[in-house]
């Protein structure tokens, strides 16, 4: 069983969150470290998918007051507010002994198991709906493997693949946000308020078993922090990146 690092971060600004995830991706390529990072957002933040045009955010009125960042991963826009966000970074040298496509399934299945223990019956979307793939919001799209509660999407993930490493990050909606009032969360759909996050330990443990890794709590290295600060300044916090399309 491999040892992997678990980082839990307090809510932070969007550009910093994206910069840390990319710094971890670069670190995984160089050091081979597997890292699960669980984090949050210091204010409601709209993240655009890598290929989405910046101007499209104007069509979504409720999120116009939100800070906006552009992700390095694809897919639709996400309003990050009352949610659990994670990133998983690892080298692609087979250390996890999993195909990259399996990462979605593993993460989402462990969400399903953890939620089931809480009496919440989530399930995976069985088929991609091509007609919904152009929706602005990620949670209006339907891709095979997405996490659904009834017919509502409550969880999704996306990857950024590099030659030597991969980043997968994703979100699980706990509660409806005023910046995306059309999207219900687990609280509205099930009547269960999971915002105390006590259940997260169970999910982390379940994911460790699924990946066959043993988590060890850790923090960013000095080099990762330096790299994240640079990426926040020059990329994710910069209009040249956010408005690049």
């Amino acid at each position: 069983m491999n040892t992997a690092r678990l980082i839990t971060h307090t809510p932070s600004p969007g550009a910093w969150n994206m910069a840390v995830d990319e710094a971890l991706l670069q670190s995984a390529a160089v050091t081979g470290t597997i890292t699960l990072r669980v984090y949050g957002w210091s204010e409601p933040t709209l993240s655009l998918g890598y290929f989405q045009p910046y101007r499209d955010r104007e069509y979504h009125a409720p999120s116009r007051p939100c800070v906006v960042v552009r992700r390095a991963t694809g897919g639709g826009a996400i309003v990050h507010d009352h949610e659990v966000t994670y990133s998983l970074t690892a080298p692609t040298d087979g250390r996890l002994k999993r195909r990259l496509d399996d990462w979605y399934r593993l993460v989402h299945e462990t969400w399903i198991r953890t939620l089931a223990e809480l009496g919440i019956a989530a399930h995976r979307c069985l088929q991609t709906d091509p007609q919904k793939e152009q929706q602005f919001l990620c949670f209006h799209r339907r891709s095979a493997g997405d996490l659904l509660l009834g017919s509502a999407k409550i969880g999704g993930s996306a990857q950024r693949r590099h030659a030597q490493a991969v980043l997968q990050h994703g979100s699980l909606i706990l509660k409806r946000s005023v910046a995306a009032p059309e999207l219900a969360g687990i609280a509205e759909l099930s009547g269960r308020d999971l915002s105390d996050r006590a259940w997260l330990d169970g999910w982390v443990s379940s994911l460790g078993q699924a990946l066959n890794v043993c988590w060890q709590s850790g923090e960013l290295t000095d080099e990762e922090t330096r790299r994240a600060e640079e990426l926040e300044r020059t990329k994710f916090g910069h209009l040249r990146w956010t408005q690049r399309r």
Partner: protein, 135 residues
């Protein structure tokens, strides 16, 4: 083009080498195996005409429903042309990965990069080792 007549990078790009005007020009694309692995492609960003690329350098990107992946240049040189119709017709990559699905034509400036490319048999072996049969 038949895949048997192409060279392949370990990162799944192919190159067809032709002699033109005293030099070598590579037509490059991504393998049928890679297209199959990526599944449900939705966006592609092409390299810029006139750009200089190194072998193994990222020169484009492709997004599938769930992942953004880099495209790596299999050769070193100058980008002469790109398949501008491809991003609007990504289904071509599935239907014709080795012909109509070409991505760029690159004038090779350093022929030594070709020695690092695999022939089709070696590439098939690599794909099989990854746990799947190459298409």
């Amino acid at each position: 083009m038949k895949p048997e007549n192409l060279l392949f990078a370990e990162t799944h790009e192919w190159a067809h080498i032709a002699h033109e005007a005293g030099g070598q020009v590579a037509t490059v694309g991504i393998s049928a195996f890679a297209v199959e692995q990526l599944t449900d492609l939705v966006y592609m960003e092409l390299p810029e005409v006139g750009a200089t690329v190194a072998a193994g350098e990222e020169f484009g990107e492709v997004e599938s429903v769930k992942a953004v992946s880099p495209l790596f240049s299999p050769v070193a040189g100058e980008v002469l042309a790109v398949n501008t119709e491809l991003p609007d017709h990504l289904e071509t990559l599935h239907a014709s990965p080795y012909d109509k699905g070409w991505i760029a034509r690159i004038r090779i400036t350093d022929e030594s990069c070709l020695t690092k490319l695999l022939d089709y048999a070696a590439y098939q072996k690599q794909c099989a080792a990854a746990g799947d049969d190459p298409a």
